[in-house]
């Protein structure tokens, strides 16, 4: 993280953005349609919003030295609760009900985050195990809510709600605006408030933070709650896209979010957090997938190429950091 203004423009901090630009250049070589507004902005940036926003939350958790594996299941559970609420209030279908369901999504995410945070701090359970537990619990609760299948909102409701994913303001899709908005708030919170500084301190060295009078439990619980809130925001954008959630919803999102955070320059071991890097990381991952579909790579090798590109990006970043 950077405290000095002049550091803000150093090569080290620019690494994720350089990687992103490199990838975009590669994409423009692969397919002429790649560098179009409809592909890059309307499709790719928009659909990366779930992972980007969840990864912003994960930046707090990981900067504080924690880990949250439950975000994918949490997204499915939150989406399930939201859809059930919308379906139950179908007769009053309208903007009011949708706004209320959004608040519900935020509240459910917040509650899940609080649960994770308390299990980790009061229960003194390793974040890996604690959130692995809630990952299984929330996934199972979703399956229960959906009776093993999928949950959908009615076409009428979807019609009203759809603009939240499909709409745009001044040509910028609403999900992309949401990423930027959440990112701005998160950056201020992490870089400009005592709480954010405490997150970095806890992730850097718990003992030092404790001896300096920082409440470890409070800081940690809050990071998991922020993560939960971000999942809530992501779900608010996810539900209007297909109007449904099923057991594949949120699958492997935790891994994608963690990858985005690390590609964005935040250390897995904590003590440092890069909000804008994380967002670049999320774009990076989504663009790899996009380029590979647009190119003519053998379909069986797509995974391998994806992995190689991520590793190359990380190697370049480490190379820059070592200088």
């Amino acid at each position: 993280m950077n405290f000095a203004i002049k550091n803000q423009f150093s090569l080290k901090h620019a690494a994720p953005f350089i990687a992103l630009i490199g990838l975009i250049l590669l994409g423009s070589l692969v397919n002429p349609h790649f560098l179009s507004y409809s592909n890059l902005i309307q499709n790719v940036a928009t659909r990366s919003s779930f992972i980007a926003i969840i990864a912003i939350g994960a930046t707090f958790v990981m900067a504080g030295g924690g880990l949250d594996l439950s975000v994918g299941s949490m997204a499915a559970f939150t989406a399930g609760t939201m859809i059930l609420f919308l379906t139950a209030n179908e007769q009053d279908a309208g903007a009011g009900i949708i706004a209320l369901s959004m608040l519900l999504a935020l509240a459910v995410g917040l509650a899940c985050g609080l649960f994770n945070g308390l299990v980790i701090t009061l229960g003194r359970i390793e974040p890996f195990i604690a959130t692995l537990g809630s990952m299984v619990i929330l996934r199972s609760l979703f399956t229960y809510l959906a009776n093993g299948g999928s949950l959908s909102i009615s076409p009428a409701l979807k019609e009203i709600y759809a603009p939240v994913y499909e709409g745009s303001f001044l040509g910028i899709p609403i999900p992309l605006l949401s990423i930027l908005g959440v990112g701005a708030v998160a950056a201020v919170l992490l870089y400009k408030t005592p709480f954010g500084r405490h997150v970095i301190a806890v992730g850097s060295n718990e003992d030092v933070a404790r001896y300096s009078g920082v409440s470890l439990s409070r800081v940690k619980v809050l990071t998991y709650m922020i993560q939960g809130l971000c999942v809530g925001v992501a779900v608010i954008l996810y539900v209007p896209r297909l109007g449904s959630a099923n057991s594949a919803t949120g699958l492997y999102w935790e891994l994608q979010a963690i990858t985005a955070v690390v590609v964005g320059g935040t250390l897995l071991k904590g003590g440092q957090g890069r909000i804008w890097g994380t967002i670049a990381g999320a774009f990076f991952l989504e663009i790899i997938g996009n380029i590979l579909t647009l190119s003519n790579v053998n379909v069986y090798l797509i995974g391998a190429v994806q992995g190689v590109i991520i590793i190359i990006a990380m190697l370049i970043q480490r190379g820059i950091n070592r200088r």
Binding site: M1, F3, P194, R197, V208, Y211, S212, G213
Partner: protein
């Protein structure tokens, strides 16, 4: 004993450094240093932090290459590309930090990475036997099967020395081997060094503790600002002369004059403080403007006492700050609110965020002072850092360095600055000068005395007796989880402290 300038490489036996220089960028940290280290002698290298000692040691140990100059061993010019080559020639460096795997045994640590095997299997029996021989050769009876995590710091240091000496060892470089040890514990290390000297090893000894240097060394070389400024037989130098040579000016008295206290107002009273299992029932008072010392061996429970008081460990007891008694503080934050601050002995592990810059370290405990409407004002933080730099004489190449890049003395000053940022009325300082050079030491003593003069109440916990004797109005001595006595006035002397601290009071009386 300067090397023969005409043909230094060929004609001198031993390890010869000739006109070594080392530059990092434009920063010249070592300039034209020439030294000869002989077998069977202890050669001490002293100097302030930043004088170039560690760079010299790293070059000798093969960890760094000199920018110019030559190394030679018994007339043969050396070209190291890494520490392995130096070790193969019998030049080993014993690091200051203890670099052992805590969950492994002493023998397993000694042979880590070069395990003896029978076929594909580890040969524990032989390794234990060899480790045992190695340790007894050093004059230690340490059990090679003991796990490192269960050892005292002194024994860990011994294990570390044994590890360094498990291969060939003609020249051994000790980098402040007693930095973390009490005087009593240090004796074990001195025995080891004496044994090695008797076995005709050349010892290169680096320390801040000038009395140790005086006692152990045959020759003393003094570095200042990267240059060799003096070299003399140890028996011709007094500790105070060494200090003068190191700082290059008259130091004056190391300890500021003690101010007679006139105020008998009680600042802090502690009753029946129990910190299981490290402390039984402690009672003491601290007066306003007083410097109260806490002496004792490592493990006597000094640090634990104050960590319990401040809510860093489970503890019970009654604490009063003037009017009424309360139970112990629930957290550091609660203690800070009441005006208590604690400076940890473990600067790197518990005091500073080494991977972060100086400002976030300085302001971590007091961020509220630097906010406006809930947002941190970086401008205010930078201003505070400027003030701290000048007030505490913190020296760093730039303001946006990571804290871990500062020298020990500057780190300690930063830690003190961080603690004092909250303007506490009671300050508890655990090992105020551990790993700090003589110049910074003097500054820290002056700071402590001036804080007391301005009406603050101060507790100093220290393993260095001269420090306690030089600074404190009263000294509480601890032995095995108990407060065993309080010394005052003319009773404050080394003999009394030692008898109380070692529990030999009865025999002595």
């Amino acid at each position: 004993m300067s090397p023969d300038q005409s043909n230094p490489m060929k004609e001198n036996q031993g390890l010869v450094a000739f006109q070594l220089s080392k530059a990092f960028g434009e920063n010249l940290v070592l300039q034209d240093v020439s030294l000869i280290f002989q077998r069977g002698k202890v050669h001490a290298v002293i100097g302030e932090n930043g004088a170039g000692k560690s760079t010299l040691m790293k070059i000798l140990g093969g960890y760094q290459l000199p920018s110019s100059g030559t190394l030679a061993l018994d007339g043969k010019v050396l070209h190291f590309t890494g520490p392995k080559e130096a070790e193969a020639l019998g030049i080993v460096l014993v690091h200051q930090e203890i670099l052992l795997a805590p969950h492994l045994t002493v023998a397993e640590n000694i042979f880590l990475g070069r395990e003896l095997r029978i076929g594909p299997f580890v040969d524990d029996e032989t390794m234990n036997a060899k480790a045992s021989a190695l340790l007894s050769n050093l004059g230690s009876s340490l059990d090679p099967r003991a796990r490192v995590e269960n050892l005292t710091i002194a024994n860990r240091q011994i294990a570390q020395i044994a590890r360094a000496l498990s291969g060939r060892h003609d020249f051994i470089i000790f980098d402040e081997p007693t930095a973390a040890l009490t005087p009593v514990e240090s004796e074990a290390v001195f025995t080891v060094i004496q044994n090695l000297k008797d076995q005709n090893c050349g010892i290169i000894y680096i320390s801040h503790k000038l009395d140790e240097v005086k006692r152990l060394a045959d020759t003393v070389s003094v570095l200042r600002d990267g240059k060799l400024v003096a070299q003399q037989p140890a028996n011709k130098l007094k500790a105070v002369d060494m200090a003068h040579l190191m700082v290059g000016r008259e130091l004056g008295a190391l300890y500021p004059p003690k101010v007679i206290r006139t105020n008998s107002e009680v600042a802090l009273q502690v009753e029946n403080l129990i910190v299981p299992p490290s402390l039984n029932n402690a009672n003491f008072v601290l007066h306003k403007g007083e410097i109260l010392g806490f002496a004792g061996l490592i493990g006597a429970g000094r640090t634990e006492l104050f960590e319990g008081l401040l809510g860093l460990r489970p503890a019970t007891g009654r604490v009063s700050l003037g009017d009424k008694f309360n139970s112990v503080f629930s957290s550091v934050a609660a203690a800070a609110k009441a005006g208590l601050a604690y400076v940890t002995e473990d600067r790197k592990g518990k005091g500073l965020l080494l991977n972060l810059e100086l400002t976030p370290n300085l302001t971590l405990s007091t961020l509220q002072q630097f906010t406006n409407a809930g947002f941190i004002q970086h401008r205010l933080e930078l201003a505070a850092l400027d003030v701290a730099f000048s007030r505490y004489d913190i020296r760093a190449k730039s303001h946006d360095l990571d804290a871990g890049r500062l020298s020990g003395g500057n780190q300690q000053k930063l830690l003190l600055a961080k603690t004092l940022q909250a303007d506490p009325s009671i300050i508890i300082i655990d090992e105020p000068t551990r790993g700090v050079d003589i110049g910074a030491k003097k500054q820290i003593y002056e700071l402590i005395a001036s804080l007391a003069r301005s009406g603050k109440s101060i507790i100093v916990i220290s393993s260095e007796m001269p420090e306690l004797i030089g600074l404190c109005h009263r000294i509480v001595v601890m032995h095995r989880s108990q407060l065993v006595g309080t010394l005052e006035g003319s009773d404050i002397n080394e003999r009394k402290i030692v008898t109380l601290a070692t529990g030999t009071e009865k025999q002595a009386a």
